[in-house]
């Protein structure tokens, strides 16, 4: 069930009404309903993979107890069991075919030819997210940050809560579980905030991301025949498409969770207003970045054991983060590009710069220097997205080459200028909202507010009927 499908808009009000009117007496009633709804939501796509979700949940629930109750060495054993179990699920369903194919190619170089069988199953949706939920839970118990949950339903809901089941944000046990265990009461302000976030998320997905996709797909699918300017427009278009798509998804997820009385972690804080790459990573897919920081980078020693180890750890984190996105070399290269871009900042100790407020937080416009810094960061990120978008590293290289070498027929780019029609308003609205990503700033006049609601809803409805409706990009991860 997609957030931008009509089924979801039938499903959501039903669950909402049942939640607040029928199952509202205790937290466990509320949780049981949400758990059933979440399994229904997931099973709508594939009931077979519900078994995988349930097994993964049960195992981590058990490991949590194992880690908490065992003596130190045993505790580590259960932690490793959880890691092996979760990474094992990922290895089989997400990476098996990739590794086998690479192994086959490697042997071919040595003139050894084998034909191993591939499993070729559809990637279970949300697998990268719910396995990370499970691991973070067991990790936190191991580190003494929390105790295991006594109630299986509470834990199962933490792993499978439908707004974040498919594409996150990747929640932390310490943040979400206390909310799961407490009874939620309806808050009008929270529900209205949630409604606004859903509306804004839908606008970003349906109006901006899906419209940009029409242009971007056309450019990327036939990039060898396009002019340099068109290729630049395509790359910029994809940067904003993936941002509108994923942050739109996150807004809908966050808004939906608010309707049920939950607050989720932030995932995006206007990443394209970052002044360097380190700031970008503090603002883009924050829940994943901080997950890797807390459960991989820091346990490996982080930056506390000298520059050499910090460089190694940074490369490992970026490469694994790239690989997390998909079993393909282009994602690894994408991670590698970011690692390389991060190095000058790390080596000159400027990676902790701009950790506070967003650019021009107290001013209307950025300074010329800030503008240049933002443009530089955006350009770097946009070039890296080319490798993310195209399957095959060679294609990415050819695309970038094309930007600097395809100068015939510049008029062709006019056909794709519509990209700017969607990009410019998004930049302007984001700039206006930039001080708080969770709070859609609102006008004080109810009449103007309602007019804006109506206009936005009408535009969303019109664009929903566009030629193509696309899945969320991050569903494939």
């Amino acid at each position: 069930m997609l957030f931008n499908s009509f089924e979801y808009w039938v499903f959501l009000p039903i669950v909402f009404l049942l939640y607040w009117f029928v199952f509202c007496k205790t937290a466990s009633h509320q949780n049981l309903l949400l758990l059933a709804a979440s399994y229904f939501f997931y099973g709508w796509w594939s009931w077979k993979f519900l078994v995988l979700l349930a097994v993964s949940t049960l195992l981590d629930f058990g490991y949590g107890f194992g880690v908490a109750s065992a003596i130190k060495n045993r505790s580590r054993f259960f932690l490793w069991m959880s890691i092996i179990n979760n990474l094992g699920i990922l290895a089989v369903f997400k990476y098996y075919d990739f590794f086998i194919t690479q192994f086959q190619h490697g042997l071919r170089i040595l003139d050894v030819h084998i034909s191993p069988s591939l499993i070729q199953v559809a990637l279970p949706i949300g697998i990268s997210f719910y396995t990370f939920h499970g691991m973070s839970y067991v990790f936190d118990i191991y580190r003494g940050l929390r105790k295991p949950v006594a109630n299986l339903a509470d834990y199962a809901l933490f792993v499978s809560f439908f707004p974040l089941l498919i594409s996150g944000p990747i929640e932390r046990a310490n943040h979400l579980l206390p909310q799961v265990q407490a009874k939620r009461s309806f808050s009008y302000t929270q529900a209205v905030d949630g409604g606004r976030l859903i509306l804004w998320g839908m606008f970003k997905k349906v109006v901006i991301a899906d419209s940009l996709a029409l242009y971007v797909n056309e450019i990327f699918d036939r990039y060898p025949s396009h002019h340099s300017l068109t290729l630049i427009l395509g790359a910029v278009g994809f940067s904003f498409q993936i941002y509108a798509d994923f942050s739109g998804y996150t807004d809908i997820a966050t808004g939906t969770a608010k309707l049920f009385g939950f607050e989720l972690l932030s995932n995006f804080k206007f990443p394209y207003f970052s002044r360097n790459l380190a700031e970008f990573w503090r603002r883009w897919h924050i829940s994943l970045t901080t997950w890797f920081r807390d459960y991989l980078y820091i346990p490996m020693g982080g930056s506390k054991q000298g520059k050499r180890l910090a460089v190694r750890n940074t490369f490992i984190v970026f490469l694994i983060s790239g690989f997390w996105h998909g079993a393909s070399w282009n994602f690894i290269v994408w991670g590698g590009i970011h690692a390389c871009g991060f190095m000058p900042l790390l080596l000159s100790s400027r990676n902790r710069k701009h950790t506070g407020k967003i650019v021009a937080a107290d001013r209307l416009l950025p300074s010329a220097r800030e503008l240049l810094q933002m443009l530089g960061t955006f350009t770097f990120v946009t070039i890296s997205w080319i490798f993310f978008r195209l399957h095959g590293v060679r294609s990415g290289v050819d695309y970038v080459k094309g930007i600097f070498s395809s100068f015939d027929d510049p008029g062709e780019a006019l056909r794709f200028l519509g990209i700017l029609y969607y990009v410019i308003p998004l930049i302007l609205i984001d700039w206006w909202l930039r001080r708080d990503e969770r709070k859609i700033r609102w006008v004080s006049s109810p009449a103007i507010g309602w007019t804006i609601y109506i206009i936005v809803l009408t535009i969303i409805f019109a664009y929903m009927g566009n030629a193509q409706a696309y899945r969320f990009i991050y569903f494939q991860f």
């Binding site: 009509f6 309806f186 242009y215 025949s225 809803l457 009408t458 019109a462 929903m464 009927g465």
Partner: protein
């Protein structure tokens, strides 16, 4: 809670009313038909003829072909044009081997996957009885279908706008292109294969082809059917039954037939699917059509 639900319900009701109002007013203010009194030749059909015939080269003509248009919609569009304009003397209509396949039926009655269904493009222009038929056919996906109708009525900017509206027009974005055997196989499979068996020939297409012929005969309009070029590899793989059925249509004495399917063109004159022409191919075929109609 009550306050929240009241507000949401009010908002949704208001929204529904606004959508209806916008729809009706935009529909009413729709620009007049481009088929004006100066036009005496209509070029109709689907993407094959839309991409093949540049109407700028043929005086007093208008290409109104639309990507994926089935003959059911072509018939209704022709009836729509003839009811408002009596200057039409000639209809040039695309009809290829693919036109006989049931692959063309699906978006008439909502069986096509919603995202590929272009029937909403025609909704506002259909007679009430056909509107009802279309709406009922799409009942299972009615919210999305109505959004599509609303979308096409407003026609907000979108990349494919040039090819995805009721009046269509010559549109060929394939400046650099080349035939591909692999893509042609996909195309052949889509058109003529149904899970390993030969796809049935379409009854709907046959009925509306007959209706179009009858309508033109009744209105004393010359109907010229055009088979646009296809790559030799494509033609070789068209099932025999389709070729025989096509040959029977060609013998109909009420129609003039222009068969360009086997004119020699190089690979760059085709799209990768081997079944449509590129800009280069369109130049050739448009010129040939102009010569034939002189």
């Amino acid at each position: 809670m009550g306050r929240f639900l009241k507000k949401i319900s009010t908002l949704l009701l208001l929204e529904a009313a606004v959508i209806l109002l916008v729809y009706l007013s935009v529909k009413k203010a729709a620009p007049p038909s481009p088929v004006t009194v100066e036009i005496n030749t209509l070029i109709m059909g689907d993407s094959h003829i839309q991409k093949a015939i540049d109407d700028a080269l043929l005086p007093a003509s208008r290409n109104v072909a639309v990507n994926g248009e089935s003959l059911y919609f072509t018939y209704n569009k022709l009836a729509d044009c003839l009811s408002s304009q009596n200057s039409i003397e000639r209809v040039v209509m695309g009809l290829g081997y693919h036109s006989l396949s049931t692959a063309c039926d699906n978006n008439v009655d909502g069986r096509e996957k919603v995202e590929h269904d272009n029937s909403a493009v025609y909704f506002n222009h259909l007679p009430p009885a056909e509107m009802k038929r279309l709406a009922l056919g799409h009942l299972a996906n009615f919210p999305l279908f109505s959004a599509k109708v609303f979308n096409r009525t407003l026609a907000p900017p979108g990349y494919k706008d040039g090819s995805d509206n009721y009046w269509g027009g010559y549109f060929n974005e394939f400046g650099r292109s080349c035939f591909s055997r692999e893509k042609t196989d996909v195309r052949l499979n889509f058109l003529f294969d149904d899970h390993g068996r030969e796809r049935w020939m379409s009854k709907i297409q046959a009925v509306y082809l007959d209706s179009i012929i009858a309508l033109c005969t009744r209105k004393n309009i010359e109907l010229i059917l055009v088979n646009t070029p296809s790559h030799p590899y494509f033609r070789r793989n068209v099932p025999v039954s389709y070729r025989e059925a096509y040959a029977r249509i060609k013998k109909d004495p009420r129609i003039r037939f222009l068969d360009f399917s086997d004119i020699p063109l190089d690979d760059s004159s085709f799209l990768p699917d081997g079944d449509h022409v590129s800009v280069k191919g369109a130049r050739v075929i448009s010129g040939m059509l102009v010569d034939s109609l002189r």
